[in-house]
Structures are given as C-alpha cells and as structure tokens.
C-alpha cells in the first residue's frame, strides 16, 4: 500500500533525520514452521472464524437479554430486617465457605488467609509453583488434582449456598423482591392502573376517617404503631387503598392470624371476632377509586 520507494534505491535523502527511512522488510509475518500445519494470517482469515464463534455467543447472549430482563427489587431499606442477603452467584462459594464454624468466628484467620487467601495466592503464582517443563495436565498430577479438587469444592459450595437461600426463602414465605415487583407491576397494568414505582406510589386518601372502627378499635389495637398514624405506612406497609388489594375475608384472615413471615403479628388473642370484623369491614372500604 505505502510502498512508494523503489526498493533498489541505494540512498534516500530525508530532510529531518528523526524520520526513519521506511523499511518494511521486517514486517514479514513471523515464521510458524515450528507449528506444522495450516497457519493463517490473523486478519482477516482467522479473525473471521473467531468472529463466527463470537456471533453464536452473541445470539445466545441477546436471546437471554431479551427473554430475561435484568432484575430490580425494591429500594434499599437499611431497616428491613427480613431481607435475606444474597451476593452475586460467583461470590457464593466464598460466602458459604466463611459461614462454616472452622472458617469463621475464632477461626476466621484460617478461613480468610488459609482457606480463601492461600488458594488465590497459589493460583496467582501458579507458574512459579508448577515449574516443570511438562505441559500436559495428566503428566502434572499435583497441579491438576489440586485444581480439580478446588473446582469440585467451588461447585459444591455454590450449590449448598444457593440451596440454603432457596430454603430460607421458603421457610420465611418470601419470594425474591424483583419477582414480587414484576408480579405487582403486571397486576397493576392488567387492571389498567399505571405501573407502580416502588416507594413512589401515590398514597390513596383515607375513606371514612371518622369511623369509630378506625378512631377507636384500630387505635386500641396499636395498628398505627406499625402502619403509621394516618395509615400511610411506617415499618409496616400502608393500609390506604388496601381494599383494592385484599378482600374483606383476606383482611380478617391477616388480622386474625398475622403473616407467615412474622412481620405482621396475629391479633386473635387481643381482639374479639366482632372487633376484627369491624376493622376488616372498614379496611375493605379503603379503595383508591372510592373518594
């Protein structure tokens, strides 16, 4: 392309000595006769083949992206004590390892330096630990078996950690927040309501605020301690507009027996059936549309 000079030219005068005479004789591709077989140039021959592999990966990747939207839960709430912490999946093995009694508490030094730090340092310095000339893995039994054991351990710990998380969700009657949020958004859209943005929902006005069911019974039952003096929500959720979400029967059930995750206590011992019925009737009237 840029060969403008006659290659037989003996002398080339260049005004500025800092500009080197162009010599493209040294850009001949390096000789790969050491690797017998069909070598080919990187660009474009090989890169196009690698690109084909890349395209297969890209199609799979974009399919995943379209099929499965990136998750988003509810806004971070430092006071939320019911949330089950969950690191990203590739940290789970470490998370699980540091839960075991021999790797935590009094043995945390062993857990951090010995069981986590040492393998990572060895991996970093592998070429200086495994210095033999042999490259085939089955001729390097120590290095290969250490790696295989680590792989099995990492896979096992990840699996245990994930199982534990699923189990915790189950016994607490929770579903992951991003799924709950998605379900609620879908329900709202199906009802023709705008998509709710968690934490920014418009709070519905209170219906029949002077009803004794609220002013007397609910005050006596300490509902407002968790749900807010105006039922606008505090530690517990808002009860404004609850009538759109739960029916009267469901409200009776929730007040009587509480919620399985333990956040809402059962009131069957503190309130009579009539009182619960009175509250549930009043709450079921709390609809956003009513006004």
């Amino acid at each position: 392309m840029a060969h403008k000079h006659d290659p037989n030219e003996k002398i080339v005068f260049i005004g500025d000595s800092r500009v080197r005479k162009k010599d493209h004789s040294n850009v001949v591709p390096p000789d790969y006769t050491a690797f017998p077989g069909k070598s080919e140039a990187f660009i474009p021959n090989f890169l196009l083949k690698e690109w084909m592999v890349g395209v297969v990966v890209l199609v799979g990747f974009l399919t995943l992206v379209i099929a499965e939207p990136a998750p988003l839960g509810y806004p971070a709430d430092p006071l939320n004590s019911a949330f089950i912490p969950m690191p990203d999946w590739y940290f789970l093995f470490l998370y699980q390892l540091l839960k075991y009694p021999y790797a935590s508490g009094d043995y945390i030094v062993l857990g951090i330096l010995g069981l986590s730090g040492l393998p990572f340092i060895s991996l970093l310095l592998a070429p200086f630990l495994d210095t033999g000339k042999e490259r085939r893995f089955y001729r390097r039994p120590i290095a290969s078996s250490l790696m295989l054991v680590s792989l099995v351990a990492v896979a096992y710990l990840t699996w245990v950690s994930w199982n534990h998380y699923e189990h915790e969700l189950e016994i607490n009657g929770q579903i992951p927040e991003h799924i709950e949020r998605e379900i609620k958004a879908r329900e709202a859209i199906e009802k023709g309501l705008p998509r709710p943005v968690p934490g920014r929902e418009k709070i519905a006005a209170m219906v029949a605020a002077d009803d004794p069911a609220f002013t007397e019974t609910m005050t006596k039952a300490q509902c407002i301690a968790c749900h807010g003096a105006e039922l606008e929500g505090a530690n517990g959720p808002t009860l404004r507009g609850i009538g759109d979400v739960l029916s009267k029967e469901e409200l009776v059930e929730t007040i009587t027996n509480g919620k399985a995750n333990g956040n809402m206590p059962a009131f069957k011992d503190n309130l009579s059936t009539e009182e619960i019925d009175k509250i549930a009737t009043w709450l079921s009237k709390q609809k956003a549309e009513a006004k």
Partner: protein, 223 residues
C-alpha cells in the same frame, strides 16, 4: 482519497508496521476451530475480550441515565429499565454480560491451566491474567451495589463485613470501602467511582499488557 490520506499520515508517522504486525501474524492450526472443532476452547480468551467490549459500551450508555446518589439511584435505574428506549436491553446486556464475562474468563483460565500454557516463558502473562480476574471480580462487586435495591445493599453489607474480618487490616479496608462506618451515601459514590473510573482504568492497562505479551511471545504450541 482515503489512500492518499493514509499515505500522507504514513509518510509522517510510519504507521504501516504497527497494524501490519497485528494483521499479518500467523495463527497456527492447533488453535483454529475451522481445522479442529475442539480448538474452540482457544476462543474463550477472545470471547472474554468481546464481552468486555460489550460491558464497556453498554456501561457508557448506562452512565447517561444513572445517578449515583442514594435518593435517585434506584429511581434512575427504574426509569432506565422502563422508560428509556432500549434501556431494558442495554441494562440487560450489562447485567447478564457481567455474569458471562466471569464465565468466559473462568473457562479461559481453565484452558490456560490445563494446557499448561502458563509455563515458561509465559509466567508473567498468567500473573497479569490473574490480576485481570481479580479486577473483574472487583468490578462485579462494586457494580452490584449501584442499582441500590435491597439485594444490592445487603450483598454489599455482607461483602464488607467479610472484608472487615480480614486479620489486622480488615477494619481499615472496610472503612476505606465504606467511606465511613455504614453502607450509605459515601459508599455508593465511592463504589460508582471505583466501578466506572478506577477499575476500568486498571483493567485497560492490564489488558494492554496481556495482549502485548501474547503478541510478543506468540501462542503456546500444540501439546
């Protein structure tokens, strides 16, 4: 016209040898999946780089909408996810790409390990590769906090508690990363800066070293 422009630049800067070196270097048969299907294992490194490029590009677009403060972070992500055209796709690519890049890098590391390619004279390239691995994990950890939902918040809290349990230095590491004593406003801006400026800078420098070395030393021979 382009040829004239190219020649004009080449006469002054002598750029031809730079790209000819990259374009013309030969790729041996044993790593070419067109000749041996099993050679696809040699593609993992290139694919890691490919996904890294996707991460950089999608991340650049995400910063156009993302706001790193504790009041607005969550709502900027919510807006990005639901209101911005193709926002869900770009965020989805960044979210899933973050996992995929770890998977690809893991497979690439295993390939290099089991083919013994880290042995002399390529020890330094392995060490740089492992540093890239750690930087990627750091990117994963800092990026996880940014949506500022409960999952992000509590994962970071747990992660920093683990960092805090490192003997001797733990408390200092934890406070440095927290930007104080709690996971809060300072932590979010700090993680954002680390995720968007510090670690990508380190990553690009390490990648340059990684590629320079592989180009200089060539790929390891067949087993």
């Amino acid at each position: 016209m382009f040829k004239n422009m190219y020649n004009w630049i080449d006469e002054r800067l002598d750029i031809t040898p730079m790209w000819r070196d990259i374009a013309d270097h030969e790729v041996p048969e044993h790593v070419n999946p067109a000749h041996h299907f099993s050679a696809f294992v040699y593609c993992f490194g290139g694919l890691t780089f490919f996904i890294t490029v996707i991460q950089i590009l999608s991340g650049m677009f995400l910063t156009m909408y993302y706001v790193p403060d504790i009041i607005n972070a969550y709502y900027s992500v919510d807006y990005l996810q639901h209101q911005v055209a193709f926002g869900a796709i770009v965020r989805g690519m960044h979210h899933w790409g973050a996992s995929l890049v770890i998977v690809m890098m893991f497979l690439h590391t295993l390939r290099v390990f089991f083919t013994g390619s880290y042995k002399a004279p390529r020890e330094m390239n392995w060490v740089v590769g492992m540093l890239i691995f750690f930087v990627m994990l750091g990117l994963g950890f800092t990026g996880y906090l940014l949506p500022w939902d409960n999952k992000a918040y509590y994962a970071t809290k747990v992660g920093l508690e683990i960092a805090g349990s490192v003997p001797f230095l733990g408390d200092y590491i934890k406070e440095l990363m927290n930007g104080g004593t709690i996971v809060g406003a300072q932590t979010l801006t700090r993680f954002f800066a680390i995720h968007v400026f510090f670690l990508p800078g380190v990553l690009l420098a390490l990648l340059a070293g990684h590629f320079f070395m592989i180009r200089k030393q060539g790929i390891s021979g067949p087993l």
